[in-house]
Amino acid sequence: MNVFLSAIQSVFKGSARYYAWVGFLAVLIVLGLSAYFQQLEKGLITTAMRDQVSWGFYIANFTFLVGVAAAAVLLVVPAYLYNFKPIKEIVLFGEMVAISAVTMCILFIMVDLGQPIRVWHTLPLIGKMNFPASVMAWDVIVLSGYLLINVLLVIYALYRLAVGKEYNLALILPLILLSIPWAISIHTVTAFLYNGLSSRPFWNASILAPRFLASAFCSGPAIMLIILQLIRKFSRIEMDQKAISKIAELIAYTMGINLFLLGAEIFKEFYSGSLHKAPLEYLYFGLHGNKQLVPWIWTSLALNITAFVIFLIPKTRENFLTLNIGALLIIAGVYIEKGLGLIVPGFVPDTLGEIYEYWPTRSEAVITLGIWATGALIYTLMVKFALPIYKGQAAEGNK
């Protein structure tokens, strides 16, 4: 128990840099909150969304983060199932990324709602959840379930570390096994949420769910790469280099698949050339002179291809500088592609052929930044809490 007490204490103690970081996040959160109160008062008219493009930056960020959360499973599989020790030691930090990411997902949905206080209507029993007809009802279930699973896994892992015992697999293995299909399900269900709409040809393509998974398994691990190195740098805990290069290798494969699926989609739409290609045309070339997203999507493609090459070549994937550049390129590339690049073309042209060019307002941007800061703060505090427990065990192990 003492371990937990000192862990809690450690959350409040830190270097000047730690306080500065937490303070910086707090400022962003306060700014975000004040913009959100404005939005609550005036309505979603403070955003750039309108009837033509009725989802925007919030839902874009939500979609990207579901991918990040799902990707934690990429660490779980080698860690527990193949007992790959280097990754097993760091899987805890992956599960904490999942917790932060799902929390941000929930916040992005909340700020997108016109009547957030009525959100209880979506719950079973007390509300009137439209299950199984509405994919959004499924999403409520899988996202909250995934959050719960990861919270339990993290608590259990920390408890084990604190008492200095190995995992009791009989107890925890079912939960770990469950977390694997569950992670895939949160992403699949979110893809189906768009995929199931026959009104939106851009989303109504069977390739959407596979593409979702492929790109998530690029961006999620890329974020893990950066975070793990930051933790290693600031906490001086040991982390096997093998774990890092294993993750980098995984990214090379998933990015290859992601690019292939994208190519398949582009071929189908442009070669068959039906009217359904309009959204893709809008995204890559512009439609009737409207080309807001064109420079962004080409940037995204260039970033993804460059990163793919970096991670494919063993020499550049093992070099720290190029490895980190590659990871950052992937995060930016997928953020564009899976964010606004996925949501907005679903609505352009709209179902009656109108083109409304959406670009987030400052208010939307500030609220979005506030939610990212909230996620970063949650992660920072969790890591700060976990590190002494983690290190304590590591020290005992060395004796």
């Binding site: 109160f37 609550l40 008062e41 005036k42 309505g43 979603l44 008219i45 955003t47 969304m49 309108r50 009837d51 033509q52 009725s54 989802w55 949905i109 997108d112 709602l113 016109g114 009547q115 957030p116 206080i117 009525r118 959100v119 209507h121 979506t122 509300g127 009137k128 959840m129 439209n130 007809a133 509405s134 994919v135 959004m136 009802a137 409520v140 949420l193 768009y194 199931g196 709409l197 026959s198 009104s199 939106r200 009217l275 309009a278 679903g346 609505f347 042209p349 709209d350 179902t351 009656l352 052929g353 109108e354």
Partner: protein
């Protein structure tokens, strides 16, 4: 401790204990900085789903809503909850050869159904197409045409509104069952149950649903006080609304406002289950089509041609 009484402009009194009890139920939303006119309303918050309320409960809710609306709009607002009539399924017909694109239907609808004037909300979109080119080429249609005079020689017009699908994708996707198809075939929204997620707007293939991005503003003098709970009663910000075939009129045996407003008789309306109705005559004897048939939504909104044209 003295019994402090919290009151709000709607005259609903809440003592401190009741307040704490409700707050303990997990909601502290009253702390949110909303304007006094929208002060937190517990009865509204805890209101049940429309289809789960007994007639007695519906009456109570409507009493409260009428009181709120009458206070806000400074006139007696009546809210009906008239149910669907048996053996009725409403259908709509629109003669494309007659429509002159005057948009009188659009504004008659706004007036009848209490759509927001600022920002402007329209349930009907009239699209203008160039004659002699592709048939229904939505991508090249124009919604914001603004000529000195209609009809224009080189164009034809197609009004689009809710198609009241028999197989409505918007109803399927709603996470809270806040929108559903009534027995007479009208797709309705409960504005007190909608959470404003706008999934239905993404699902609708006809661009028929509208969101209240801001609090709807209507001059008090222009508010139509004869309303229906599932239709034209005043809406809130942050909820979705749509055409209901003027449920408040059609369930009382009248035509929808757009049908009455059309100066060229392009709009037809009737009971699809009545073999002698005008709409059945049209479907059986004219060449009709429905918009985006390939999506299998089964609209009850039929476009047709009589060949008769306004010169």
């Amino acid at each position: 401790m003295s019994k402090k009484v919290r009151s709000n402009p709607l005259g609903i009194r809440l003592d401190r204990r009741m307040f704490l009890k409700s707050a303990a139920a997990g909601v502290a939303a009253s702390a949110l900085p909303i304007s006094p006119a929208e002060a937190f309303n517990w009865k509204a918050f805890l209101q049940k789903h429309f289809r789960e309320m007994s007639d007695e409960e519906i009456k109570k809710v409507i009493d409260r809503l009428e009181k709120e609306a009458s206070l806000e709009w400074k006139k007696d607002v009546h809210i009906s909850s008239a149910k669907a009539m048996p053996n009725v399924k409403f259908g709509y017909g629109l003669d494309l050869s007659r429509c002159i694109g005057c948009r009188r239907c659009v504004y008659a609808c706004v007036k009848e159904n209490n759509q927001s004037r600022t920002p402007q909300v329209h349930w009907i979109s009239v699209l203008r197409f160039k004659k002699g080119e592709k048939w229904i080429d939505l991508e090249n249609s124009e919604k914001y045409y603004n000529p000195k005079q209609v009809p224009e020689k080189d164009f034809f017009y197609m009004p689009v509104q809710c198609q009241q699908c028999e197989n409505p994708p918007c109803v399927k996707v709603c996470p809270t069952q806040a929108t559903w198809k009534e027995p007479d075939g009208i797709v309705v929204v409960d504005y007190n149950w909608c959470i404003g997620c706008r999934y239905c707007m993404a699902a609708c293939p006809y661009g028929a649903r509208r969101f209240n991005w801001a609090k709807p503003k209507i001059p008090s003098t222009e508010l139509n006080p004869d309303t229906h709970y599932l239709g034209n009663r005043p809406r809130y910000k942050g909820v979705v609304e749509k055409c209901t075939f003027c449920i408040q009129r059609t369930r009382a045996g009248k035509y929808p406002a757009c049908v009455e407003a059309c100066p060229v008789g392009a709009r037809k309306f009737g009971n699809l289950l009545d073999p002698d109705s005008e709409i059945r005559q049209l479907i059986e004897n004219k060449r009709v089509f429905r918009l985006k048939e390939d999506l299998n939504t089964e609209p009850k909104f039929y476009y047709f041609f009589t060949g008769w044209q306004v010169q």
